[in-house]
Symmetry: C2
Subunit: 150 residues, 2 copies
């Protein structure tokens, strides 16, 4: 039975895999998430300069969709209120196992590059994902305010 | 650097994740693979009748792409040479971890159904995937010919 989700449109079925492909099933969303997760990209300009040369209108559309689905969040930098940065939400970083398995599958069956990344994943998948999660937690830590002196 | 793959078109980058999204990054391919992997579907008619109501032209296109990428293979049934059945190749069944992680992610973060499947995956992911692989191996076993009597 079709289900409604928080993002609005009715789903074609209640199957969890269908939910995933309706949210992530395109050529670009997972690449943007990869750039945030593994390469620490945070700005529109960085995403635009990535290897696969995403078009600017597609990037804007996908970022908006990822925000709508609660995978990406947007902030203004404290130092410059006009500068916008993007980061993964907890729901976004929870995609680390999906990305890892997709990388391992392609590395096993297709002619691909970036073997150091693949070796690291193959050696200890859990350790790799835990390091990814830790880097994310550190980058997203809210700076602690110094207590004011009385 | 863009790379060629066996299927012909030049890739946008050598990144293994990019290879995966170029092959699987649409709304339908992984649903067809799910129907073969988890529901034992083997015929065009079965895929067409699945929950998400794929259109016939999209189904034909995606099956052809999956065959081109070596994920799906096509046979004629021994009993009726006109009847065509589809099955996952070893490369196709190797997508079990990708599908499993996508299901677990959506089940954790979206409003989805099919909780018995999710419970089984959560309880023991490795056991679940090993059962999937075993069912596939049994369904694809070449029937042994009986030795002829001298």
């Amino acid at each position: 039975m079709p289900r409604k989700n928080a993002a609005g449109p009715e789903r074609r079925s209640g199957c969890p895999l269908n939910a995933s492909v309706e949210i992530l099933g395109d050529r670009w969303s997972l690449l943007i998430i990869r750039d945030m997760m593994l390469r620490g990209f945070r700005t529109y300009k960085e995403f635009l300069g990535s290897y696969e040369r995403i078009a600017t209108n597609i990037l804007a559309d996908r970022l908006q969709k990822l925000i709508t689905h609660g995978i990406v969040t947007i902030h203004r930098t404290p130092s410059d209120g006009r500068k916008v940065i993007y980061s993964l939400t907890p729901k976004g970083i929870d995609l680390a196992p999906v990305l890892t398995e997709m990388v391992l599958w392609a590395a096993a069956h297709e002619d691909t590059a970036n073997q150091p990344l693949v070796r690291e994943m193959r050696k200890d998948k859990e350790k790799f994902m835990s390091a990814v999660r830790q880097r994310w937690a550190e980058a997203n830590r809210v700076p602690r305010r110094l207590p004011r002196r009385p």
